[in-house]
Amino acid sequence: MKFSVIVTLKKDVLDPQGKVVQNTLLNMGMDKLKSIRQGKHFEIEVNENNESIARNKIDEMCKKLLVNLIIENYKIDKI
């Protein structure tokens, strides 16, 4: 079973990389651009056919290593 995990910085945490990308796009003339936040994406495959067990495993991976819970949020989706 395959999952996608998206990790993003929490709302109040400064995202300097996102800001630079945003400024560059604005300089390129993308004047409809309102805001950008940069994050990380993981594609994770697990040997488990029960979706809720698999999700729990992914959740454990996120909490224990993939995500820094002080500054980041995450979202798990089956793909």
Binding site: P16, K64, N68, I70, I71
Partner: protein
């Protein structure tokens, strides 16, 4: 006094700290990260560098390495732990120190000599300094922007856990003397038991007049005190 320096793939300040420790008469041993046992130590140092190439987040992979379980056990039984630069990042990833180190606000790797002020000179790591003493010390990092939640910041202040803050040559602590955007100019903090210090500046680079100055020496002599 016996010390151990933990070495990860990508550590690059491990030999500098070993030279500084030996100069100060510590009996030092280097410990590879795959070891499962720590030699008996009064002090464990987690050195600077780029452990595991900073993959995932600085210090994240080293924070889950085999030897770190032993470091955590030693820390919980009162052993002194010093994390410098990447070592500080690793200590926050293990949870031994709260908070985290974000990317420098200006997005640049900063390598220069800056000033820090001794805020707490009552700790095992800083008792040989004067209170409010200004030290000239090197920083070399990309993620040194310390961040923590407001409850923990209150605790840091109340329990006098902030040891060093960035300042200018006159000792002013403000936005202009903050090199990396760190919360309240924090450069080094203790845990609440005060046996663990994490700091971004490099005291081991300031132990000899020939290459720099001796402003880092008193950190090591404090430990021996």
């Amino acid at each position: 006094m016996k010390s151990s320096v933990i070495v990860f793939p990508g550590s690059n300040c491990d030999r500098d700290i070993a030279v500084a420790l030996e100069k100060m008469q510590f009996k030092n041993q280097m410990v590879w990260h795959k070891e499962t046992k720590l030699p008996k130590s009064d002090l464990i140092v987690i050195p600077g560098g780029f452990s595991y190439g900073d993959y995932l987040r600085s210090g994240a992979i080293a924070g889950k390495s085999q030897i770190i379980n032993e470091v955590i056990k030693a820390a919980n039984s009162g052993c002194l732990i010093l994390g410098i630069c990447n070592g500080f990042q690793i200590l926050t990833e293990t949870g031994l120190l709260k908070g985290t180190l974000l990317r420098n606000q200006n997005l640049k790797f900063i390598n220069k000599d800056i000033q820090i002020k001794v805020i707490n000179n009552n700790s095992k790591f800083s008792n040989k300094y004067e209170k409010d003493q200004i030290l000239k010390i090197n920083i070399a990092h990309n993620e040194g922007n310390y961040f923590t939640d407001s409850n923990h910041l209150d605790q840091l202040k109340k329990e006098d856990l902030i040891v060093f803050k960035y300042c200018d040559e006159k000792g002013n602590i403000n936005k202009n003397s903050n090199p990396n955007g760190s919360l309240e100019n924090i450069a080094g903090i203790l845990n609440s038991n005060k046996n663990i210090l994490g700091m971004m500046p490099h005291p081991e680079r300031m132990v000899d007049e020939i290459i720099s100055n001796k402003d880092g020496i008193n950190l090591f002599s404090s430990l021996l005190n």
